[in-house]
């Protein structure tokens, strides 16, 4: 759990970091295989350079940009976040990246922009499991504009001070620490500001089980398992899951008045 109120810094938890080895070998990245160990093994086909990202939709400056240029737009900062998977395990990861809000500001959204839609690379030669139909490819995710602009929300290009390995979503991925891990879309090629709530992959696959919001919430069970407890990778005992993954103080106001059982 987070330290005392005085020492509290949501951007750098003082909890022990999950070892690099575990962070990079225990992954859900279905485009590279379904078992947790598969993505690390199969990542060789994914080529994070050259890489371009497209910004489009309700913005004044739509553009297509090379990843290395993009990474020079903002200073990269380290943030140590808890990551809670919907499957009831969790990690503590030092990410390297920049706030998504800064990028959005630079793109100058129009007044119609209400949501942000993200898309993963679609290329079965690089992501071979896109030839299967486990999910509808490419992987898609989305955030409400205020969630996207929240200072905790970041685009990460690295972890533990190094470039992201393929299995963790090279070269660019989303990190939203108060939401379940599947919101953290990997290997992003497109970011669009949009008017309507965008389609998101797990919601399309099983709408009753995975909502658009996917906020970590110990009180709202997954239909098939409880979300009250989690196992921190490396621990034997489980620990209670915290509301909004321990970031309630920072983000609870975004959902004031919303029934979180309905908007799960």
């Amino acid at each position: 759990p987070p330290g005392s109120a005085a020492a509290r810094d949501p951007f750098k938890t003082d909890e022990p970091r999950t070892p690099y080895e575990d962070v990079t070998t225990y992954n859900n990245f279905y485009e590279l295989g379904l078992d947790k160990e598969d993505p690390a093994r199969n990542t060789k086909t994914l080529k994070p350079r050259p890489w371009t990202v497209v910004f489009e939709g309700e913005i004044k400056k739509p553009q297509r940009i090379d990843i290395d240029t993009l990474l020079k737009w903002f200073p990269l900062e380290e943030r140590v976040y808890r990551m809670r998977c919907v499957e009831t395990w969790s990690m503590v990861i030092p990410w390297l990246g920049f706030p998504l809000g800064k990028l959005i500001e630079r793109l100058e959204p129009t007044s119609r922009a209400k949501y942000v839609a993200f898309t993963t690379l679609m290329d079965p030669e690089q992501l071979p499991f896109q030839l299967t139909d486990v999910l509808e490819w490419p992987y898609r995710e989305g955030l409400r504009l205020d969630e996207a602009k929240h200072p905790l929300t970041m685009l990460a290009a690295g972890l533990y001070g190094k470039s992201l390995p393929g299995q963790n979503g090279a070269p660019l991925r989303l990190v939203v620490p108060w939401k379940y891990g599947f919101k953290g879309i990997k290997s992003i090629v497109r970011i669009a500001l949009v008017e309507k709530e965008p389609e998101t992959s797990w919601n399309m696959a099983a709408p009753r089980e995975y909502g658009f919001y996917a906020n970590v919430n110990p009180e709202v069970a997954h239909p098939r398992w409880s979300q009250a407890m989690e196992r921190r990778i490396g621990d034997l005992d489980k620990r209670p899951t915290l509301m909004f993954n321990g970031y309630a103080e920072e983000v609870a106001h975004l959902y004031a008045g919303m029934d979180l059982r309905m908007f799960y």
Partner: protein, 212 residues
């Protein structure tokens, strides 16, 4: 008929049952060694539970394959290892449940009870486990004699129910991809089909012989 279905003492294939026991327990030994070497990945408890559950399902389906295999081929040896396979499957079901109760839930009985009653996925697995207990308890020749073959056979049909529940449990556990549980489901369906066809053929033969 009853006598022919009961595996008797060590005949020509006396080595078969010990070989199955050894082979069947080998994955458990490998698992223990991997656990001792901290070689079960980042989430060792989940990995152990998955492996034990999968082994339980494979062995239960194999034990259910014995009779259909005998029907299809006329071979006698599948029947001789049916009980061994079933008991090995039960062993893995127990190990799977113990890892869940002791390691995953730290023997928190309240949490386990809540899990079983509130989570259909846990409930289904638990019922499969409970159904197998009387089958394991009546797996001896003595129990069979005491019950009489007809009753014993009726009781042991529960093995099919347990296997079906095991597959449902598997289906409900995966986040989305159904390939693996579907394979076991298809296998079990195939075995079921052989038995149904066999019954149907026997009935037809019976009617035929009565007319003739």
């Amino acid at each position: 008929m009853a006598a022919s279905e009961i595996p008797r003492g060590a005949g020509k294939l006396g080595w078969l049952s010990p070989a199955i026991v050894t082979g069947g327990l080998a994955p458990a030994v490998v698992l223990v060694i991997r656990a001792a070497r901290r070689d079960l990945g980042a989430n060792p408890i989940a990995e152990a539970m998955n492996q034990l559950g999968l082994l339980a399902l494979v062995l239960l389906v194999l034990s259910l394959a014995a009779t259909p295999l005998q029907i299809a081929t006329g071979w006698k040896w599948p029947i001789r290892i049916r009980k061994t396979l079933g008991l090995l499957g039960f062993f893995y079901v127990c190990a799977h449940f113990l890892v869940y109760a002791v390691l995953d839930q730290s023997l928190a009985l309240g949490a386990i009870a809540a899990d079983i009653t509130k989570r259909p996925f846990i409930l289904v697995g638990f019922v499969a486990f409970v159904l197998l207990v009387p089958l394991a308890a009546t797996s001896t020749a003595k129990a069979l004699k005491r019950m009489g073959f007809a009753r014993w056979k009726r009781l042991h049909r529960l093995a099919y129910v347990a296997a079906i529940l095991g597959i449902v449990h598997f289906v409900m556990r995966v986040k989305k991809d159904l390939t693996e549980p579907a394979i076991y489901g298809a296998l079990l369906g195939g075995l079921f089909l052989i038995r149904i066809m066999d019954v149907a053929l026997k009935r037809r033969d019976k009617r035929g012989s009565m007319r003739g």
